[in-house]
Assembly symmetry: C3
Homo-oligomer: 336 residues x 3
């Protein structure tokens, strides 16, 4: 491409690959993550919102924040049978993250939060956080490669966990705050950050196994630019539309959609109530439902809004909170 | 025994011990496991049945299927502090299991499922799956023996986990599908497969520690024949009656039954409602309840149907679904 | 101090550090732990009290008891990526604990429980259990120090887990018994034993890293004497008042309390119901609430009783059950 030859592509990619995440990018990641935690809603009566937890039990609030900030390292450690307490051994990072936590939740006049919530500042911080995503995914892939030299799937899994761990563990992070929402999780309804991290993990795993004709630092630059540009676009337009929606929709209809005459199987052979008509309409609705809602969070999923809106809400929540927090508490919101 | 001398016992047992599970027995295990997952009921309104999850989120459905197929290896890995992602490194097995998953859930005209659900075919597949159980239990016992040479209990635990892992993890496998039923689990109410696997783990652990005067391949043959014959009998007669019910009942009454004058202790010292009469009747009912329901799934348990049917339903569910899935979702069915 | 010079301090501390926990102190720990499990309340209708579980499923009851007795070793093993089944390899301890479990739940005439519940006996047993706490915390700190020589936070975390593991895992231990109470956990609302163990872990970690000018056996004696004396005082006076309440209150108000004009943030930015007046009153109530309830279990927390009593009950439950069990099932009790 002319653009690539005009830009110093090689130098940019090498420069990016040599960039150090500590301290500025790491701090941006902590700020955006803790702000996302803070913006988690809760139940007024039960006072389970993050701010309530911050007042009721600062310790639980701190623990939750650490799960947001270091969730990927913890989850990938668990998967590789390495001590999940390893992030605690990096005292400087823990101190920084704890300081960020304290200032976001307890700063006098709420100074840090107000300042960071200002859109231009938030854009920059979110962009920097997206840069750290590349490092985390790649770090996970390399971590798996040490033990499983040809284990492509293991590399994908660990890279994905390291990059999106906080989101994948969302059910258990919420449990720390006294919230339990088993009806949804990041596998049933994948948020945009989880999807983009999975794609990154697949790309880096293929590249490390020489299936992609790209050098590592080139792929790092391309991936980083893509996720930063896309995230910025989504924040500026306030749009939830995932860039993968058309591809997902096509894959879904090709591989996974079933014709309506199988409706009797839709609700399981042991369904005890409700006629198949509603099930059939749910299935029929999928062809529409998926294109209508195709852009919302959901890993190759059908929306079935007609029958059960509550578990298929689009992540309107995504607009105002940072990525890791996006779809976790949408099950009580209907914004179709 | 004359029968043993007539049959080429030594040759049979050696032949069995040298049998390779891959690919046919492994494929049979995958088919039966994924079919059991498919037959899991759910809630119509919430669309949590497996077929619903298969339509809503193929990824979650695939993940669930992998937990069914490789749950034992994952759980035993967690217990031995070995990477739980290790099964993912065996690409061929994962590909096979994924292919089986795809065909069971999405095959045009539902060909594979219809074919495999045909009773003679199902019998053969289930018999082959039972053969893999022996390999898995023994594998777990040997895995533990490497680290804990004299750790009899560790060998039992790991052998049990490896052979029945999918069932033992059922609460968390259901969580992947958005279902959460904390009121029951495989420890509170052991299904037949879990019990038979525990017995196998105990036998193989005793044999490996030279407490049983049997050679390994002899025990493998005896155990395999027993579980295959018993499972076939249960499927052909449509009976849930566990062969251990009389032994369990006797052990329970000898060791664990308490006289009714202790009824005030039955519901805990902090019980806030309900008179002890109902508790006493629950205890009195146990002597009857246990023999009446002795044949149903339940590890040395009392049925207490009079007071709380919902958590003590017999596993009528067992009849139609393969072993690993049997008692997991019975808490919403009353089939006494 | 004159007292220290009068008492043979050095000899006492050396004597204590050489004391062997096996068998008497370990047995005391098992007895007190299993008694605490037995005194767990449950729901009459669902028969989830421990005595009910003991009748319904002795196996689940035994498993729960083992989690109470060895929970610390299991949790610290998980954190350090060491096999969590390691406690099972110590056959003698498992046999002893199982014997204690059997006698506490199934002894004819309930002999052991009645005898151990007698206050003087209970005092002695609880005191001996407190002595084992020191060994467990120190053991955890040393375990972490082997892998993370300068990892102060890791040492604190692992020491804390090893000393208070049963309590920290309470949600999952309850799950074994078919109980699930996500609205509370030991991080949201720390019980006295969990707090005292955390303090011990911090002290021993600081001492091992030479931040405290104390020798190990001196600290062991001081800490042990403090926890035994305090626990005895609490049991004799029937008081829940934590000795740390004034310090906690002061720290809370200095570091974490927020002025009422931030009330709009109290319930999260996505709160959908209820005016901020009640939130404001909750915040205003905190200054009172905390001193009023400052002595109850709660790690630096606010009580907010006015708005949501159910998640902020003081651990009246603490009076009658041993430490590990104290605040776990208080969410259905209001004893303000």
């Amino acid at each position: 491409m002319d653009l690539l030859t005009l830009l110093p592509f090689e130098e940019l990619s090498l420069g990016l690959s040599n960039l150090r995440m500590f301290p500025f990018f790491d701090v941006a990641h902590y700020v955006v993550s803790v702000m996302a935690l803070r913006e988690q809603p809760g139940h007024v009566v039960q006072l389970t919102g993050s701010m309530d937890v911050a007042q009721r039990s600062p310790f639980a609030c701190w623990f939750s924040s650490m799960l947001y900030c270091f969730g990927g390292a913890i989850l990938s450690g668990l998967m590789m049978a390495e001590p999940p307490v390893a992030p605690l051994s990096n005292g400087t990072n823990i101190l920084l993250a704890s300081l960020v936590w304290y200032l976001v939740f307890y700063c006098p006049q709420d100074a840090l939060y107000s300042c960071a919530a200002f859109l231009p500042v938030r854009l920059v911080l979110t962009g920097m956080k997206e840069v750290t995503r590349t490092w985390k995914v790649l770090g996970g892939v390399l971590q798996a490669q040490k033990k499983y030299k040809d284990g492509l799937l293991v590399m994908v899994a660990v890279g994905w966990a390291k990059g999106a761990g906080g989101g994948l563990m969302s059910n258990f992070e919420q449990l720390v705050r006294g919230i339990w929402k088993p009806e949804t999780n990041e596998l049933l309804k994948m948020s945009y950050p989880t999807k983009i991290t999975l794609i990154g993990a697949v790309l880096f795993a293929l590249q490390q196994n020489h299936y992609l004709p790209l050098q590592k630092h080139h792929l790092m630059l391309i991936y980083t630019v893509f996720i930063v540009v896309n995230k910025t676009r989504m924040m500026l337009t306030g749009s939830n539309s995932s860039p993968f929606a058309p591809v997902e929709s096509a894959m879904y209809h090709t591989l996974f959609a079933r014709p309506s005459k199988d409706s009797s199987l839709t609700c399981g052979t042991k369904a005890t109530t409700k006629p198949t008509a509603s099930a059939a309409s749910a299935i029929d609705g999928k062809a529409d439902g998926n294109s209508r809602n195709g852009s919302t969070a959901g890993g190759l999923e059908c929306s079935c809004n007609g029958l059960n809106g509550s578990t298929h809400e689009p992540s309107a929540h995504e607009e105002s909170s940072a990525d890791q927090a996006e779809p976790k508490d949408t099950s009580n919101k209907k914004t179709d």
